[in-house]
Symmetry: C2
Subunit: 403 residues, 2 copies
């Protein structure tokens, strides 16, 4: 079996941990597998280099930053390769360029355009373990680029897709994907499997294990993704096609996102297209609007409520102020003491009772639902932040996720 | 004027010093010059990375070591480029690959085969300062290589030669080349100019400012080389063609090499070709034999004395033991308490009195000369180590180098 294994910053945080990674790779090889290892920079290293750059400039050139930061992963890849050699395994360490990773030229936020896996394939054919510096590639012009946050995960998934690996394992410091955050609900259970779609909902809803970019690419390239811990031997969670999951549970998990703020527009003018104007302006400024609620009061005035990520609230305030100044909105209200609780599961597609059960559960706990948003595989409810944990635990129990 | 400036590890030892280098580069640019800057890794960085590699293996793979070590210079180049940007200067940071440096594939000890300066030329034409990561290149196969000790100097000289720079300035922590070591003779004077040939003799005789590889390349490519300090504004020493030096002094400098040991072979068998056998065996083992003295005693026995670098004395012992075991040498003696004092100057080519004056000076100080070796531009004398400083000072005064 051909396996891509990716180890993040904490997994390669010091020399002993790099040795630990080497031992784990050896085990995988000894079990008869071909292995490509993708590594991040040693934890702290990237921040140190960013700090160096910021010593000289508040706004350093992105091309220079890429050349600077890409050195971190090269160090880890070389060291892991040396460790594996010492254990008697032939290896080859590769930079992003050597691994054939071609990206757009957008420095610090490049996108992978294609992977030419010929060098990796040749090395595997020679019986070598391939160790790749993650997070980096080269533009068509041959200049080093980096892939932005979660870049090494992306390198691993893209390589697995390009070379047709059976499995892409992402090693972090958590054991996998849980039915909900175990710090809130100690009875949370680790999932054996979850579909790409559910994972995308869960991570956009605050589960931090994987970035959506990586899951989306895994889905697109049909890569079987496993998240597991580099610090223990427990099996992780397989993220795969819906069809591959034999027994579809009704609900897979409960997600909590505290990082939302609510914007309330009170007394919106009765002009055709005004809502479109407001949301277009927000979209142009790249503000991610999530749940939207429009209500018409008895007296005919229209109110519009919506949520935005907390760090975009100031931008949102400036934008709606323009409409207030034009007398198209009577007044505004902002509230960041809200949270979004979501129930995610592909099973609910064919089962109407999930929303009803969720509302009943919240009512039983006297939790007011301020806003609701649903998709085929998700029910999200915006509530007061102080009820967050209670809501998560009640829903977790109501849908029997602890069983 | 197009100038290549190279800054070594101590000159870029911390962020403040990198800023200092940026200021110096700016001055050169403001004086109307085009500049290519070549940088080493921040001092200590390379040793740290070597230590990391050695944590995993006593004998790490050379290709991996090259990928590891080459990251150090990339960090410095990116940071210097960012610092110059912040000061308002357009720049481009280049790896060895991007600067077009193609080397042999011999990892950790690669030789520069050719330089394709097209990217550097284009950047200069666009009015940019080019910042190059020294010490590294790529093989024809596109794998990262490093150039070994003194590699960044070599990068700078080779670039200056390939692109036809008027000057290649090597910045270190000393102000230039002195008539002798100022720690021994406080009256030592900094030389304004010196020929390549003299510099080669001086550095092989213990002056540590420049490695012979770099001076040889400068000579071959006809690069005007200047060594100067990055910590003060004093003019350095120009190393150039003999023809460029208007006033040839008789003697340019006195060099001292304490790093030599003497091997004495007593009672060498009277067999034709035996001396050739001994020195061939030493050459095969890459032991650098320097001064050689053959004497025939009254009773007809032959003695051979020669010097080798201190760190090769054990190898030399093992080799001569083979001849002792074959009864071709009666006995051996080894002495590492010797020193070699040398007088260097192109002027002595046309002046016979230098050796005589040297011997007279030594006799006046009651210093026994154990061995003598001369070349067109050098007289070397092996003496007891304890007389080293006295010999240097006496010769320095005798040849009026303090005037």
């Amino acid at each position: 079996m051909l396996i891509v294994q990716k180890f993040g910053g904490t997994s390669v945080g010091d020399l002993d941990r790099i040795q630990n990674v080497a031992n784990r790779v050896e085990k995988t090889v000894q079990a008869g597998n071909d292995v490509i290892v993708v590594v991040s920079a040693m934890s702290g290293e990237t921040n140190k280099l960013v700090g160096y750059a910021e010593h000289f400039s508040k706004n350093p050139s992105a091309a220079e930053v890429d050349m600077l930061l890409s050195s971190g992963e090269r160090v880890t890849a070389s060291l892991l390769s040396i460790a594996l050699n010492e254990m008697g395994h032939p290896t080859v360490a590769m930079t992003g360029r050597q691994a054939g990773i071609v990206t757009t030229a957008r420095h610090t936020k490049a996108r992978i355009e294609k992977i030419n896996p010929i060098k990796m394939r040749n090395a595997l054919a020679e019986g070598k373990i391939v160790v790749v510096a993650g997070f980096q590639g080269v533009s068509e012009e041959g200049v080093v680029t980096t892939l932005g946050r979660g870049g090494s995960d992306l390198s691993a998934v893209a390589i697995a897709g390009a070379i047709g690996a059976e499995l892409c394992e992402i090693y972090t410091d958590v054991e996998g994907i849980y039915t909900t955050d175990p710090r809130i609900e100690p009875h949370a259970k680790k999932l054996d499997m979850i579909s790409y779609e559910e994972m995308l909902e869960l991570s956009s809803l605050g589960a931090k294990v994987l970035q959506n970019r990586s899951v989306e690419m895994a889905k697109k390239l049909n890569v079987n993704l496993v998240t597991r811990s580099s610090f223990c031997d427990a099996e992780g969670t397989l993220i795969t096609k819906e069809e591959n999951i034999m027994e579809q549970p009704l609900v897979s998990g409960i997600a909590l996102d505290r990082n939302q703020a609510r914007v309330s527009l009170i007394g919106v003018a009765d002009r055709p297209g005004i809502a479109a104007d407001i949301f277009n302006t927000l979209a142009v400024e790249e503000i991610n609007v999530d749940v939207i609620l429009q209500t018409v009061a008895h007296d005919g005035t229209t109110n519009i409520d919506f949520t935005v990520p907390m760090n975009e609230i100031e931008n949102a305030k400036n934008i709606v102020k323009v409409f207030v100044d034009k007398d198209e909105i009577l007044s505004t209200d902002f509230n960041d003491e809200i949270a979004k609780v979501s129930i995610v599961g592909v099973g609910m597609k064919s089962h109407a009772g999930v929303a009803a059960k969720a509302f009943t559960t919240m009512a039983e706990e006297n939790i007011n639902i301020r806003m609701i948003s649903t998709s085929e595989i998700k029910v999200s409810m915006v509530i007061e932040e102080k009820y967050s944990e209670l809501a998560v635990r009640s829903l977790h129990a109501a849908f029997e996720l602890d069983k």
